[in-house]
């Protein structure tokens, strides 16, 4: 790994990415819009649910509006992260291959994408967390924001994987919206989860651990370490798979003889 090559790849890939105005629009518009809808539609009455990621599975009672806001924050973080990552992987395939033909190492381009993804996801998640505290008062803001970051990491890695497999944007977006909508936007909601017929299926979905981190931190003092580790493992698995596919797609023949 050559640091000056990595620096150039990070700098120019980031410039290329942030010049996509639609992505910037998503970044600022989606969280605000999502929060507004959740704030306007969820009642302020209390609701009780079982916290599944904690061994004791305690039943906790919280405001439906606050719960809705935490959930919508997770959905916004996951969706934005997956779109960013999809865009990063799908665009410039030929140009990246040309860079490798010219002398870049595949791992330098992969490292640049990894660093950019993790940094952008963290920034987006912190931004979403900060927007959230305008409307609610979470018990542990850093923990809740960590949940958003982890949701972004897991879904960002999923977006990278989808982008490595699918060449066209439309199919990629469909795959992202499909899973994100079912998982983080519906099944992980503890109100639904508490009465679900098959809870094991929900626990294996990507947003389970990050949503548990966010909820436990926002409303309780329980430890989030296991759920954090689970989120990291899920995200890393997706990311490693996506980088493996990227590496295969970027293979070149050196022809030296």
């Amino acid at each position: 790994m050559r640091l000056n090559f990595l620096y150039t790849a990070i700098r120019l890939t980031l410039i290329d990415l942030v010049r996509n105005r639609f992505l910037l629009f998503l970044l600022f518009f989606v969280p605000g819009f999502f929060y507004l809808i959740a704030w306007l539609t969820n009642p302020d009455s209390p609701t009780a649910f079982r916290l599944a990621s904690v061994e004791e599975e305690p039943v906790i009672s919280v405001s439906q509006q606050d719960l809705g806001l935490v959930f919508i924050g997770l959905a916004a973080s996951g969706l934005i992260a997956s779109f960013l990552a999809l865009n990063l992987m799908q665009r410039n395939t030929n140009e990246n291959k040309r860079l490798i033909l010219a002398g870049f190492k595949t791992q330098e381009l992969i490292a640049a994408k990894f660093i950019i993804t993790v940094c952008l996801i963290s920034l987006v998640a912190i931004f979403i967390g900060l927007m959230g505290i305008i409307l609610m008062d979470p018990g542990h803001f850093p923990g809740m924001t960590l949940g958003y970051i982890l949701c972004g990491f897991v879904y960002g890695s999923y977006g990278m994987l989808v982008g490595s497999v699918l060449k066209r944007e439309l199919e990629g977006i469909l795959f992202i919206v499909l899973l994100a909508n079912i998982d983080v936007g519906w099944l992980q909601n503890p109100i639904y989860y508490a009465d679900a017929q098959n809870q094991l299926v929900i626990e294996y979905l990507p947003a389970f651990f990050p949503s548990q981190v966010a909820i436990a931190s926002a409303f309780t003092d329980y430890s989030i370490s296991m759920a954090t580790l689970g989120s990291l493992a899920y995200g890393l698995l997706f990311m490693l798979l996506s980088f493996l596919l990227f590496w295969i797609n970027m293979r070149i023949s050196k022809h030296t003889g």
Partner: protein
């Protein structure tokens, strides 16, 4: 420059599904010169060029080469959200070149080829807002940044204006004088008098014309 650049392809075969594009194609270029590969649309010229460049693997056969390669693909493989200068910075880094703050692009050779191909600078304008001809010029300049020994050009001048087209051939002749191997793919080669040898792709094979 490498003392003896060469590129040898032997027994190259490539199919897309049931469509056999190349079958046992051979090419052996060991001397500096301008070489043409012609053929009808879909005959396999671009496939052959991508295999020679190393960005596509053949189903069968092998390619060996010695010397720095420069590849200009048919479609401009340039970063559309970056400016011309940023694209040049990215590829200069890839080639391991150091740019200074002097001249137009920080390197005398790059400045020379940018002037030769009449490439406008369009400071601050991203490539996606530029004309097809300008992108084609940048595409070619990126292939020549590092002064390669073997230059693989896939229809490099289709969108050039007349003066740039003339400059292109003048530059190609200059490179031939320096002993570089230049392979140009085209379905139309008007300047056949400037070509040292020409191959036609016929039924998947390269046939010397």
């Amino acid at each position: 420059m490498n003392s003896d650049p060469y590129i040898r392809a032997a027994g190259i075969a490539k199919s897309y599904g049931k469509n056999k594009v190349l079958a046992d194609a051979d090419l052996n270029l060991e001397e500096g010169g301008i070489y043409g590969i012609v053929g009808e649309n879909g005959s396999g010229k671009t496939t052959m060029m991508k295999i020679l460049a190393g960005c596509m693997f053949p189903d069968k056969g092998s390619v060996f080469c010695s010397g720095k390669k420069g590849f200009c693909p048919q479609e401009p493989w340039v970063f559309r959200n970056l400016t011309i200068r940023e694209n040049i910075q990215f590829f200069s880094r890839a080639y391991g070149m150091k740019l200074t703050s002097e001249g137009r692009y920080g390197n005398a050779h790059i400045d020379h080829i940018a002037t030769t191909f009449r490439m406008p600078e369009y400071s601050g304008v991203v490539c996606k807002k530029m004309s097809g001809g300008t992108l084609q010029k940048l595409n070619l300049v990126l292939a020549l940044l590092h002064d390669p020994d073997i230059i693989l050009l896939d229809e490099p001048y289709s969108a050039f204006d007349w003066e740039t087209y003339l400059n292109f051939w003048e530059y190609a002749l200059e490179l031939r004088m320096k002993g570089r191997i230049i392979v140009i793919v085209s379905h139309l080669l008007y300047d056949q008098d400037k070509i040292d040898a020409k191959w036609k792709i016929d039924k998947g094979k390269l046939v010397c014309d």
